[in-house]
């Protein structure tokens, strides 16, 4: 026993320094919390253990403005990471500011990545001015989570076991029935946060015929903006939707059975999967595409992409770039596990695989991809963009009853239009 311990210790001592000196260290930053974070950490561990020559050192920073501020500041002083996650919606804003380093076709093909492996819309979003600035990892959207027990009790489940909530009047009366049947709220949403409100707001907005968020130098040229804002506000006014709710609270309202349904991104799928698996969720849950409330189906969507920050001070070395490309390719090819975090993989071979096609609840809401509404392609759009700021500053107070919707839209126009140029 003693001997084997000694042998083990000495072999460890011998192997450690060797490994450390041989491996290329890759600094990785992401903003992935929730079930996303758990899944990604596990993918990184798998990568590290299967690649002795590369070691990913990962940090997770606060999502949104803080993350993108740190990226910009660190790139300016040459302290940027080698690889980072980045929202495709933000590329039109990021590329002109010079914070992204483009990949050459040769670099991409060296690890077998190229346009033919991705959905055209997704790939194009990562390409600006003929250059590829990022590699999509996934497409993620907002969905409607629901408590099967409560919906069943309120008679809102169809014969196929899925919720019957299409049509705005029908959806609202559904919320009322849920409340009448003992739910504190029909549905919960992170109503204190501009980002979450934008996801629902923009989904509903795009469901209306003739609605266009931006046209030329104008924001909200039609009255659709006000209509959506007033609609969400009326749910909150009638206490059908939770008001001024923070992100974790919006989830807790659903998991504790106080809210019968919950609007959130697909990335919270693992939260509920894990809770259900550990018998900590007192009900059966499901997730479906956001109901068609207006004229046509539409769901807000965005993509996580991998990108390399550009820095004048300290550009990435060839050695690290090679390692980074290998990381990106591996992550894409192993994104079936990433899909268990609710996402639709960006890498087409995985999407086409049989394993993915039978994954639940992904399969149920897979139809949303056909009507995905991506953020406007503009430098005022995307995560942590002026549009997100305006949502936080004007629309959030408005739906929570602090600001008249018409006034809020007017203030949003005043703020955003001068920034379009």
């Amino acid at each position: 026993m003693k001997k084997s311990l000694l042998a083990l210790a000495s072999s460890l001592l011998l192997s450690l320094p060797l490994q450390v000196s041989a491996a290329t260290e890759v600094t990785w930053w992401d903003f992935l919390g929730g079930g996303d974070g758990v899944r990604m950490k596990s993918l990184i561990e798998q990568f590290n253990s299967s690649h002795p020559d590369i070691k990913i050192n990962a940090s997770t920073l606060e999502w949104g403005v803080p993350f993108y501020t740190k990226i910009q500041t660190s790139a300016a002083v040459g302290e940027q990471p080698d690889i980072m996650t980045y929202h495709l919606s933000r590329f039109p804003l990021a590329v002109p500011s010079g914070v992204l380093r483009p990949f050459s076709a040769a670099e991409l093909s060296s690890v077998g990545l190229g346009p033919d492996k991705y959905f055209p819309a997704n790939w194009e979003a990562a390409n600006i001015g003929g250059k590829t600035y990022g590699i999509p990892l996934d497409i993620h959207a907002m969905v409607l989570y629901y408590n099967k027990d409560m919906l069943g009790k309120a008679g809102l489940l169809g014969s196929n076991g899925l919720p019957k909530l299409d049509g705005i009047a029908n959806f609202t009366s559904g919320l009322k029935k849920l409340k009448a049947n003992g739910a504190e709220y029909g549905v919960s949403l992170h109503t204190a946060g501009g980002s979450s409100v934008w996801r629902l707001w923009y989904s509903m907005f795009n469901q209306m015929n003739g609605a266009q968020f931006m046209s030329g130098n104008q924001v909200c040229p039609t009255d659709h903006c006000e209509k959506v804002t007033s609609q969400i506000k009326s749910w909150i006014d009638d206490e059908l939707m939770s008001s001024e709710t923070e992100y974790p609270d919006s989830i807790a309202l659903f998991t504790s059975g106080k809210a019968a349904m919950h609007f959130n991104g697909v990335w919270e799928v693992p939260t509920f999967t894990d809770l259900a698996k550990n018998n900590k969720l007192g009900f059966e849950w499901g997730a479906v595409r956001i109901p068609v409330m207006y004229d046509k189906p539409a769901t807000w969507a965005d993509s996580h992409a991998f990108a390399v920050p550009h820095s004048d001070r300290k550009p990435i070395s060839q050695e690290k770039l090679k390692a980074v490309l290998e990381v990106i390719a591996w992550m894409n090819k192993n994104s079936l596990f990433w899909a268990t975090a609710g996402h639709i993989p960006g890498y087409k071979p995985i999407v086409d695989s049989a394993d993915y096609k039978k994954m639940e609840p992904n399969a149920t809401y897979a139809v949303l991809a056909e009507n995905a509404a991506f953020d406007p392609k503009s430098k005022i759009a995307g995560v942590a963009s002026p549009i997100y700021d305006s949502m936080q500053n004007f629309i959030v107070p408005s739906i929570n009853g602090q600001l008249d919707p018409a006034e809020a839209i007017e203030m949003m126009k005043e703020t955003l239009e001068p920034q379009i140029e």
């Binding site: 403005v65 300016a76 500011s97 923070e246 609270d249 309202l253 001070r313 959030v396 929570n400």
Partner: protein, 290 residues
């Protein structure tokens, strides 16, 4: 005056570290930031001389005036209540026996030594709209739940209140020191003459404690003008910029907007305001000493 060579040599060695640090981290940044404010420049990298343009832009920037006003409002919300409550608590604490006094004082003082992030985390949890215990107190009194940090009416006063909660211990300590310096004989004499508690406060405590009050007021004034941390962590400047303060604007412009020159101009205005206030404070305190 003649200097001894050896003494001067010792002096040079002794003051050198401080002086070097002083020049490098105080004088140089002050000059650098002033020159940066006359340039159109990114945060890092060369800029272009544009004279007073940044200051002209500042003068016409509604957001700047708003941030200045918000900073002023925050100072009003914190400085006077913090000082008066500090005095009140000090008077209440000092009446007790030493051991009890130490325990009560610790209750008021512990928040002051906590990091700001710990303070904001605690209060975020306490006030959470859905699960905060404060909301349950509101429920008990059948008051509608309040989302303190996203409400236009509540955000600023709430951050001010939390700031008072955090920093009052320090003021209490200063006041207790001041109160101990007031001779007990004065109170005994007035007791004999049949003065009421209020009269004692009005004619003995208040005038004699005034130097400490003035000190606390001015220290608070300068400290609170530099508000950023709690505001950033609790409201981030919202809702609709109603809690956007000067340093938050500097942070937004420099580190999010990469507009180093303009941010330098904004922070220089704050720099001058605080400096002027400090000079004023010095004058006030000097007059007291005379």
């Amino acid at each position: 005056m003649k200097y001894k060579r050896e003494e001067v040599l010792y002096a040079v060695v002794l003051v050198a570290p401080f002086v070097v640090a002083y020049l490098l981290f105080l004088i140089y940044p002050t000059i650098y930031q002033l020159t940066l404010s006359f340039q159109k420049a990114p945060l890092i990298g060369p800029g272009e001389w544009i004279g007073l343009d940044n200051y002209v832009k500042l003068y016409n920037d509604k957001l700047f005036w708003r941030a200045l006003r918000n900073t002023g409002v925050f100072v009003l919300w914190t400085v006077v209540p913090n000082t008066l409550l500090g005095l009140l608590f000090a008077i209440m604490v000092i009446r007790h026996r030493p051991l009890l006094q130490a325990i009560i004082l610790a209750c008021f003082f512990v928040p002051h030594i906590l990091p700001v992030t710990v303070v904001t985390d605690m209060w975020t949890w306490l006030l959470s709209k859905q699960f905060g215990i404060v909301q349950e107190v509101l429920d008990y009194f059948e008051i509608k739940r309040i989302s303190f940090f996203t409400s236009r009416n509540w955000a600023m006063p709430m951050v001010a209140f939390i700031t008072i909660w955090w920093t009052i211990g320090f003021n209490i300590v200063l006041f207790i020191a001041g109160l101990r310096n007031i001779s007990p004989e004065l109170y005994e004499a007035s007791d004999i003459e049949g003065a009421t508690k209020f009269q004692q406060f009005r004619y003995i405590t208040w005038p004699l404690i005034w130097p400490v009050t003035a000190l606390v007021l001015t220290l608070q004034l300068i400290f609170q003008m530099k508000i950023f941390d709690q505001m950033y962590l609790l409201t981030g400047g919202g809702p609709f910029n109603s809690t956007l303060v000067i340093l938050q604007l500097v942070y937004n412009k420099a580190f999010q907007g990469n507009d180093g020159g303009y941010a330098a101009a904004i922070s220089f205005v704050l720099f001058v305001i605080i400096l002027l206030t400090s000079v004023l404070q010095y004058q006030v305190l000097k007059r007291q000493d005379d």
